[in-house]
């Protein structure tokens, strides 16, 4: 394949990564934004979403689409409830003390991951995509014969991957509307600005925190359900998304939602493109170093604004 | 070196965005005197002393200590020159004993000389009346006692200039009387810059007064001069029942 078609293919793969990443990172970002909590177990909620999706689809027979749609509904709900429960039982009890929260969520990480290992096992398990038509893509070229259009071998995307991109856009738009337009969003924003005043105005801050934590985990689970027909479910699959989501949230400016989306697109696309042309390990080294440097020298993130 | 003024500022200004908290403050602090800095809430008093000791970076202007320009020095180096600072909101090492709190203040100057540090700690705690509580944990003290501890930590540094940011805020009347007595025993020993709301404390301790209003120096002089100053009366004393 020539360079041009190759780049297009890499960009499309990157767009899929970006879509999943935007969902996962958004969950982390909302939790950090509203609660100031760094949830180290976020990647495990993602993994749990994928594992539950596998479980649901393997229970349901028939057309793969039925199982998939059910999983898309059930997995995020279950994960969200579990996270909300963890918030109530653990994080609320330690009063969201920053150090202890980190330690507790590290503990949670191992509990979820190892429990999955004991029940689900160490194997990677696939989930059938609901539909998976290969769509060949054309490429244009000015050759000796003038302008020509042809179909390079290997330049294609599946209908499912296109669906993932669309679904992510749809979910994020819906989320945006909820946060900016609805009463629930208003309560969330009030709690984020000043939890004590919110409490004084009758906002049940404890309950808001609980459901925000659940929502954050649920978003990760949605991302995982979408990715699992492409990637397979595995008990260690939460590690990379956690790291990438962290990177995204930091680059986007801690707690800034539009920043998170833009950073997810930036990072997902460049991850896709860099991994096609360079060693993925090198790409990860560069990405982690960049994040560490950004945090050290521009702690408000690339897109965040300086506070006084 | 032994100039009349221990500290002076020239055109000291602090702007937050477009809003000026302090505008072109020229200020002189005579050596060995007790200067009170007064003014209504939001006049910029804390911003001003924050710029003196380096907690708040100045937008422009100069600070001179003992004749030398200290603009470029970070806070800890200014403190090392002999400027002690007590916080407006009590800030002690809540998890450590009183002894350790004061020892930390003394140790920076006295170093590893354990005997000298212990003697200094005992002396200073006795002076503020906390001697019998030396092994208690600072966080367990009453608010008034924490304020006294804060002052003890300042004294333990043997400061050349001692800046106290609203030291009597939240103290009971009897404690305020003790504070006034304590400050008066320091008179002549060191230079004191006192931010204070309680006019009774100001009149009983200060030899000089500077009045800030809306980020600018409104008046400066002896307590008598300030009392007689019409502008001050209008801006500040008249509206205060203290």
């Amino acid at each position: 394949m020539d360079f041009g078609p190759h780049l297009l293919l890499a960009s499309l793969e990157g767009a899929v990564t970006a879509a999943i990443l935007a969902l996962t990172a958004m969950g982390l970002s909302i939790v950090f934004g509203v609660m100031r909590v760094v949830n180290v177990a976020h990647g495990e909620f993602y993994m749990l979403g994928a594992v539950i999706a596998w479980w649901v689809t393997s229970l349901i027979g028939g057309h793969p689409a039925i199982g998939f749609v059910l999983a898309l509904g059930i997995a995020p709900l279950l994960v969200g409830f579990l996270a909300a429960a963890a918030d109530k039982v653990i994080l609320q009890k330690i009063n969201y003390d920053p150090d202890r929260t980190i330690v507790a969520t590290i503990g949670l990480l191992y509990i979820i991951q190892q429990t999955t290992l004991m029940t689900f096992g160490p194997d990677a398990r696939p989930v059938q995509p609901p539909f998976n038509t290969r769509i060949a893509l054309p490429w244009f070229e000015f050759g000796d014969a003038g302008f020509a259009m042809y179909w390079p071998w290997g330049l294609s995307i599946t209908s499912y991957k296109l669906f993932v991109i669309m679904a992510a856009i749809g979910i994020l738009t819906a989320l945006w509307l909820v946060i900016t337009r609805s009463k629930i969003g208003l309560i969330m924003r009030a709690t984020q600005l000043d939890s004590e005043t919110a409490l004084a105005f009758g906002v049940p801050v404890d309950r808001v925190y609980m459901w925000v934590f659940g929502l954050g985990a649920g978003l990760a689970a949605v991302g995982a359900v979408l990715v699992v027909p492409i990637q397979q479910a595995h008990y260690l699959m939460g590690h990379d998304p956690l790291l990438l989501a962290f990177i995204t949230v930091i680059i986007g400016g801690l707690g800034s939602l539009p920043g998170t989306v833009i950073a997810a697109i930036l990072i997902g696309m460049s991850d896709g493109i860099i991994s096609v042309f360079f060693s993925p390990t090198l790409a990860k080294i560069i990405a982690t170093l960049v994040v560490a440097m950004v945090l050290a020298f521009r702690p408000q993130g690339l897109l965040g604004r300086t506070a006084h | 070196m032994d100039a009349v003024n221990i500290l002076t500022t020239k055109g000291l200004t602090k702007a937050y965005g477009g809003i000026k908290a302090n505008t072109d403050i020229d200020f002189a602090l005579p050596r060995g005197k007790t200067m009170a800095l007064i003014g209504p809430n939001g006049a910029g008093k804390s911003t001003f002393v924050g710029m003196l000791c380096g907690r708040i970076p100045a937008t422009r202007g100069d600070v001179f200590f003992e004749g030398a320009n200290i603009n470029a020095l970070p806070a800890h180096q200014r403190i090392s020159l002999g400027i002690a600072y007590t916080f407006q909101i009590t800030s002690v090492f809540a998890g450590l004993s009183l002894h350790e709190n004061v020892a930390l203040a003394a140790r920076r100057r006295l170093g590893a000389d354990v005997a000298a540090v212990n003697a200094k700690v005992a002396d200073v705690l006795a002076r503020v009346g906390l001697a019998e509580r030396t092994d208690q944990i600072a966080g367990d003290l009453s608010y008034g006692h924490q304020r006294l501890l804060e002052i003890a930590m300042g004294l333990a540094q043997d400061p050349r200039l001692f800046i106290l940011d609203e030291p009597t805020q939240g103290l009971a009347d009897s404690e305020v009387e003790e504070f006034i007595a304590l400050i008066n025993t320091l008179a002549g020993e060191t230079t004191i810059l006192l931010i204070e709301h309680n006019m009774d404390v100001v009149m009983k301790t200060a030899t000089h007064i500077t009045v800030l209003d809306a980020g600018e120096v409104l008046a400066a002089g002896t307590p008598e001069e300030i009392r007689a100053n019409a502008a001050v009366q209008a801006a500040y004393l008249g509206t205060s029942d203290a």
Binding site: A104, Q114 | V92, L96
Partner: protein, 314 residues
């Protein structure tokens, strides 16, 4: 008896106990103890930064690995003998911790944790990337000929035990002394209230940097000793898990106490040892312990003991 005499007695007692343990305990536990002592050195280094200075790093595996690979690679690639290789291990940990400390200390709190985590992750990936030298996850064996220090064959069980004991004792006593010194007291002051410490005239940034370097170098020495005593260096020791272990040990044993690190390692070691007989998911135990600790005993075993019984404990 004054408090400082008591604590000196306690420290010497712990060392004496470890000395006697060699002659009393069965071989299996003696082997475990040599490993525990080296890991306790790692924990002591971590505790110096976390327990005494109040900085929570999630990247100490990088320092441990710097020591380990400093020693291992200089032996593998440049044929250095044991003593110089050990010095290279120490020096690499010192340099790495100075650089990381300088960069990471521009931040604080949660950002500090994430920055250290990110640097450690980059370090781990770098070890994988240069797999042709480091042999990545698989790691490499340190030849027995390279494991002779001052005429002692460290692959021998007895020599290994006492080498570990000497290293542990030196670090244990040195750190116990250091935290009582004016420097150590200032670090505690920074942990308690950094702004106040700064406004007493202490250069808090310089103090914290020194603390990171001391802590990182001790961790690196532990890493080098681990490679030397157990004859193996591998990328596993650079993973996030090995950054979390010392945090776990110190929290369990008691942050900011001198004996906490040892207690924490012993407890965790045997907890995992016993549970790995039952299940392969032994890290589940670590997770449960972490959560229970944050909920019920945030000061750890030694910390709770100090609070309730022995108030004089260092």
């Amino acid at each position: 008896m004054t408090d400082s005499q008591r604590s000196q007695l306690l420290h010497l007692g712990v060392i004496a106990l470890l000395f006697v343990a060699f002659f009393v305990l069965p071989t299996y536990h003696v082997g475990n103890l040599s490993r525990i002592m080296v890991l306790a050195v790692y924990a002591i280094g971590y505790n110096f930064l976390f327990g005494y200075t109040g900085l929570l790093s999630l990247g100490h595996a990088l320092f441990f690995a710097a020591g380990m690979y400093g020693l291992g690679l200089s032996m593998e690639l440049f044929d250095l003998t044991t003593a110089p290789a050990l010095m290279v291990g120490l020096a690499s940990a010192l340099i790495v911790s100075a650089v990381i400390g300088f960069l990471a200390l521009r931040t604080s709190g949660v950002s500090f944790m994430i920055v250290t985590l990110m640097f450690a992750q980059a370090g781990y990936l770098t070890i994988l990337y240069f797999g042709s030298y480091t042999r990545g996850d698989e790691g490499f064996v340190i030849q027995q000929a390279d494991r002779v220090l001052f005429g002692l064959d460290l692959s021998n069980d007895t020599a290994r035990y006492f080498a570990a004991l000497v290293l542990f004792s030196v670090c244990f006593l040195a750190v116990a002394r250091l935290v009582q010194s004016p420097f150590g007291r200032t670090l505690v002051a920074i942990r308690e209230n950094e702004e106040r410490a700064r406004m007493l005239g202490y250069n808090t940034v310089a103090h914290k940097l020194k603390a990171v370097v001391i802590s990182g170098t001790i961790a690196g020495v532990a890493g080098a000793a681990y490679a030397l005593l157990f004859g193996y260096a591998g990328a596993t020791f650079a993973t996030v898990q090995y950054s979390i272990f010392p945090l776990l040990w110190v929290l369990l044993g008691g942050a900011g106490t001198t004996i906490g690190p040892l207690i924490g390692v012993i407890f965790m070691f045997y907890l995992i040892d016993l549970s790995s007989d039952i299940t392969s998911a032994y890290m589940l135990i670590a997770g449960v312990v972490l959560v229970l600790l944050t909920l019920f005993a945030p000061q750890g075993l030694a910390g709770e003991l100090r609070k309730r019984v022995f108030k004089w404990m260092p």
